[in-house]
């Protein structure tokens, strides 16, 4: 796992150490492998599955798991396995870009606020506090309504909400670093604002950003599922995991597998990311504690 740490950064983190600790911890290894498996089978599903996720076959509607359809079929006779893999792909894309928007916007707003201080800080902190007070699902639902449901618009809407806590955490971190010796030194050497933000602040926020990003993926997947259940999911023939769950919820009393398999896929995925996030979080906390004790 590449860690973009610059040598001068205050984080005294040996990439080899991180690497060995991650590999040594079987939990983490299992999670990482499972996530990799998820990505591989969902993006590879197109090539090896005999059924197209959107092709209907009404003669085989609502059949249970069998040799032909391993996970059964849905109400239009579409193969559930193919649909779950296709749905997973869409959910992964949404989660990835929502997370990307989340950490990019969160980092930029947070670091600009924390580094500048003064009016810019007040304004941006006010903005963050404002977003904090409005129920997040209201913002997501409104944005999705305005932008119209679709993969791109869903991850934009999710990103617009997820960045708020990230920005708050980053601002706190950067605010403490604002007058650290190495930042002042960089300023004295004539480093510009952009250079300080990306070359000095970014590596120091890296642990926080990584943990936030890992926890943001399950958040985004779950939020997407929520949107689908509300009826603002990806539009018809395409289906995300959330849409499949939402369809499954309509019929789980009669055809439980239509609900069970998508939910199981999603829960294992979320569990992996939560475990991974926990361990990464602990890893960095141990590290910072060690530094404090050495002082």
């Amino acid at each position: 796992m590449p860690f973009p740490l610059t040598p001068g950064a205050a984080t005294e983190m040996d990439p080899d150490m991180v690497y060995s600790r991650i590999v040594q911890n079987r939990f983490v290894l299992a999670c990482l492998l499972l996530i990799l498996l998820y990505v591989l089978i969902s993006f590879g599903g197109k090539f090896y599955l005999p059924y197209h996720p959107n092709v209907q076959n009404l003669y085989e509607a609502n059949t249970g798991p069998s040799c032909n359809h391993w996970l059964g079929t849905d109400y239009l006779g579409r193969d559930l396995l193919a649909r779950i893999l296709a749905g997973l792909r869409i959910s992964l894309v949404i989660a990835f870009f929502a997370t990307l928007i989340n950490i990019t916007a969160g980092f930029l707003v947070g670091s600009i606020a924390g580094l500048s201080g003064g009016i810019a800080d007040r304004f941006l902190t006010g903005l963050i506090d404002l977003f904090w007070c409005i129920p997040p699902f209201l913002v997501v639902v409104m944005l999705t309504v305005v932008l119209e449901p679709g993969v791109k618009n869903i991850f934009i809407a999710l990103g617009m909400v997820l960045w708020v806590p990230t920005a708050r955490i980053i601002r706190g971190e950067v605010y403490q670093l604002r007058n650290a010796p190495f930042i002042r030194l960089a300023r004295m050497h004539g480093a510009g604002y952009t250079r300080i933000v990306f070359m000095h602040i970014l590596p120091n926020c890296f642990p926080v950003l990584l943990t936030t990003a890992i926890f943001s993926v399950p958040d985004a997947v779950l939020a997407e599922a929520f949107l689908s259940i509300v009826g603002l999911g990806v539009t018809a023939p395409e289906a995300s995991l959330g849409v499949l769950i939402s369809d499954g919820l309509q019929s789980f009393r009669v055809y439980p597998w239509q609900w069970f398999f998508p939910v199981l896929t999603l829960t294992i995925f979320v569990l992996c990311f939560n475990l991974l996030g926990d361990i990464i979080h602990r890893l960095f906390r141990d590290r910072s504690k060690g530094i404090l004790e050495n002082d």
Binding site: V141, L222, R253, L271
Partner: protein
């Protein structure tokens, strides 16, 4: 103290005003209008607009809304003619709260108990067991848990009803569904804090003085481990009390959460604004109450709040 309460109340009023303004204008910026689903003739639509004052300029509508709001009148629903927003909230809030309040209590009880137990047995098997369950509880979304509980306990075993909740005990399944996730979060918060607190010197000195383990944990350690969980409970209480859309949908409960989400789709301007205001109000009140609780437990919070 009084000064703090007053300052806080003033700040909260400002927040309410901002939230009101934002939802009021954001809703009107959404494409579509409240009557688009009814396919009615333009003349009738014009009359409807005039009836609800929607033909006025936006600034005028806003001023009217605020003056009505000052009298605690949230206006009339545009989708459910003849019903005021106050009535709808008065009908559906008790339904949501009847599920949300027990869920809050259960989550707090389960979370604190499990968190304390797992901190006491840090790194031994009860701790691992509790932590595994907490991580699982954190990862199971409520639509998975709710539907699963219905399928097992209502459809297969027939212990609880699928819908039609008459006795208080009938609400066990929705309460469980709502409570598991926050219980897991509280367990983890309490556990982390408690492990740290139990290592401090004053705990060791209390032990040295011969205090029993129960007194050390409950009287000395717990109050110092609580603030993080208490601060989390504030927003949590607002979310649980005002109802969750998904849980209400799965369990067919006519609660506030359902109205909230459907009213956005219906462009029911008044209902959306009304429920948002109500939610923000509950949020601010519960945050305030939890802050007071943390304040009374831990004198150091006084300085944290003051700054």
């Amino acid at each position: 103290m009084l000064g703090y309460v007053l300052r806080r109340a003033g700040f909260n009023l400002g927040v309410m005003l901002v939230v009101v303004t934002l939802t009021f204008f954001l809703m009107r910026l959404l494409p579509g209008d409240p009557f688009m689903s009814q396919r009615i003739n333009p003349d009738i639509k014009e009359n409807l607009y005039a009836k609800y004052g929607l033909d006025q300029p936006a600034a005028r509508q806003y001023a009217d809304y605020l003056t009505a709001l000052a009298r605690f009148d949230l206006g009339e629903s545009l989708k459910y003619p003849g019903r005021t927003v106050n009535q709808i909230i008065a009908e559906s809030f008790p339904v949501s709260a009847a599920v949300g309040f027990p869920a809050l209590a259960l989550a707090a009880f389960l979370g604190v108990t499990a968190g304390v137990l797992s901190a006491i047995w840090h790194n031994r098997w009860p701790d691992r067991f509790i932590l595994a369950w907490a991580t699982l509880g954190l990862s199971i979304p409520n639509f998975a848990l709710g539907a699963g509980l219905i399928y097992i306990f209502a459809l297969k075993l027939g212990i609880f009803p699928v819908a039609m909740y008459e006795k208080p005990l009938d609400l066990v399944l929705p309460v469980l569904t709502l409570a598991i996730w926050p219980a897991a979060v509280i367990t983890r918060l309490i556990r982390t804090e408690m492990i740290e607190v139990l290592q401090r010197d004053y705990i060791i000195s209390a032990r040295v003085r011969g205090l029993g383990p129960a007194a050390v944990v409950l009287r000395h350690a717990l109050p110092n481990a609580l603030p993080a969980a208490i601060h989390y409970t504030g927003p949590l209480a607002a979310t649980l009390l005002t109802g969750s859309f998904i849980v209400e949908k799965i369990f067919a409960l006519p609660g506030l959460g359902q109205y909230y989400i459907t009213s956005i789709g219906n462009r029911d301007y008044n209902l959306v604004a009304g429920i948002t205001i109500f939610y923000t109000f509950i949020l601010l009140v519960s945050t305030f109450l939890t802050d007071l609780l943390a304040f009374s437990l831990n004198p150091r919070c006084r300085y944290r709040n003051g700054s």
